[in-house]
Symmetry: C2
Subunit: 423 residues, 2 copies
Amino acid sequence: MATELPPASPSLAQSRAWFARAAEVIPGGQYGHTAPAAGLPGVFPYFSEEAYGCRFRDVDGHEYLDFMCGYGPIVLGHAHPEVEEAAERERARGRVHNQPSRIMVELAELLTERIDCADWAVFAKNGSDVTTWALQVAREATGRKKVFLLEGAYHGVDAWCTPGYGGLIEEDRRHVHRYRWNDLESLEALFREHGDEVAAVFTTPYHHPGFAPSVWPAEGFLPGMQALCERYGAVLVLDDIRVGFRLDARGSHRVVGFEPDLACYCKAIANGYPLAAAVGRDSLRSAAGRVFLTGSYWNNPESMAAALATLRILERDRVPDRIRAMGERLGAGLEAAARRHGRTLRMTGPPSAPYPWLEGDDDLRELQRFCAAAVRRGAFFHPHHNWFLSAAHDEASIDAAVAVAEEAFAACAAGEGGDSDGR
Amino acid sequence: MATELPPASPSLAQSRAWFARAAEVIPGGQYGHTAPAAGLPGVFPYFSEEAYGCRFRDVDGHEYLDFMCGYGPIVLGHAHPEVEEAAERERARGRVHNQPSRIMVELAELLTERIDCADWAVFAKNGSDVTTWALQVAREATGRKKVFLLEGAYHGVDAWCTPGYGGLIEEDRRHVHRYRWNDLESLEALFREHGDEVAAVFTTPYHHPGFAPSVWPAEGFLPGMQALCERYGAVLVLDDIRVGFRLDARGSHRVVGFEPDLACYCKAIANGYPLAAAVGRDSLRSAAGRVFLTGSYWNNPESMAAALATLRILERDRVPDRIRAMGERLGAGLEAAARRHGRTLRMTGPPSAPYPWLEGDDDLRELQRFCAAAVRRGAFFHPHHNWFLSAAHDEASIDAAVAVAEEAFAACAAGEGGDSDGR
């Protein structure tokens, strides 16, 4: 494997040249989750050329083992043949129609059969589409305004929840209140103060903030949240966009033991084809029917066919089990490599979507050096965001990544990327 | 042609059966712009099977001449080979990457070269993504809150603009004010009252409300709007999502003679591949860079490759001229057919995206009867929304549609769809 990897400190000449062109015609050159400031400027490539299986190649010709999977959508591996075939069959029938396709019904049937809290489903194109719509459905169902959000959670780019600061006005968040993860008392306090005004409580299956370790729910935290929502008549919304269908083919709430009233999915639902979904209980069906939801490409059956194929493969091949096993192999390998170099690394959160954390590195400098050294050696490790594994990751690619990590820890110990390093 | 059309009153047995299944698992069975209440229930098919060129086939096997084109995205005709080839080349390199593709830069370069008010571009997946973001950019640039919207215009499904009623709270629209089309005084009055608080004025290139005729701008109306925005320091946002690139390959504002500060595109930009874009002036570049914008499928080069191909074909083949000529042929044919049956039909708005209006039919009953009779005979005419033509519409298909209209007017005159009609 090592000979297939790019040399250390690969040239990013083409990435830089294209970024310079981009900066002329795109504000900031790139935006959103691929903006350079979100990653490792000068180390991460800026433009991708091709992705296949568990690898991708950048515009300078360097190949990387991919541990981001497009930030989550790629759950079966890039360009999975069965998904591509299913999508191609529908694509040949046209892209956007005046009516939905039968595929939409079949997909809604599959989701409602498979997900225990799902009596109905709707579809959209972005995660933000369905989280924002879910809030409106909760407001419509309850006649209330307030929403309790988890401090540090990401639910999309709309004004009520965006992590950005630009363009917001005070009214956007007048009814948004924040509770803390694994701090049921912080949520109870909000209920005591605003319980008769709260439309919805949003949660994630575990806490996966950016720039910080992932945290599993403490015993009783999510059931306690569910009980509070029931007592006060608030809609419990699960934002399962980050890892939905990656941890469990029937929804991540099954891994952590609670039942939401409404759940939002995106990313892994169609192995990269653009689709989002919201599902919910019968008690919310009427309200859901009254909150307008549509978009220019809603009647595109290709993405729904890709989702049907992806969801069937996930269950048929027990993909979540496989990815978890590969993630455990990766985590054990990386943690052992760190120990051999005198560091304590914890791979936090689920093994199939792990977030790395180096003990005693609260400013992330060491983690950034480590990830930079690994990226230069062909393993695309992110220091600020959880990683993602796919069904295309096998023992050989995991072991290759662990070997890169071993070299990267050694290089860091030798000063690479440190203050005295000339890079 | 007539022999290829389905018989009058085609059976919708399959459409109805699938709708019954859908109603079990989807709130309302269907939602958004294809909800039955938005069209002609019992007449419009509920599910599409296949679309090709300027035609589509429903799940009962009936073929229709398509005058909706997926509600706008299909501008070159369904499944245009050059666009499909360009998309396929990128699709083979993977669907969603960790970084953008070079195609994003090439597409931003094309838009900024081609659109006179465009110094930069950003991309998203839905029209609502970019209209909502545009409002935030205007607020960020001006430090102000208020927005003036055109009464009856559609800008998407987000709370500040949705035509729906469900789930809204008072704060969503506290800073939204409405002016009337071709009534510069109504806009001036808003400026006089709120001029130092207004971030943005939204307009469309012409007025295209639902359930009503389209209206071109009066002489001086849009330049007057532009002058007011300049005087008061408000950002002038063009929502060109409905017909952008269909009327003019360089943006619809060129047809009506004004220059926006920021313009939003979607629908026809990529002949059905999901993509939206916003472009703007240099004066807004810094604010644009500060308003967070991202989504799960942002780094999907396929849709951008489809857009590059579509935009090049639109200019190379002078597609807007061709579609306009076909639209004029359709309009003249339909208006003449109406006259022969004693009705005055006006095809309002642009010929390539016409909205039909029968004089003296303010409750739309006659238009609904006419469109129902035409749909039953294989021409998919919509009574509540503007129609769309594509480059795949040729003289033969237009003439076939006019022949259907002739039969439909005759059938209406004979009582079909009337109060005494048993349907």
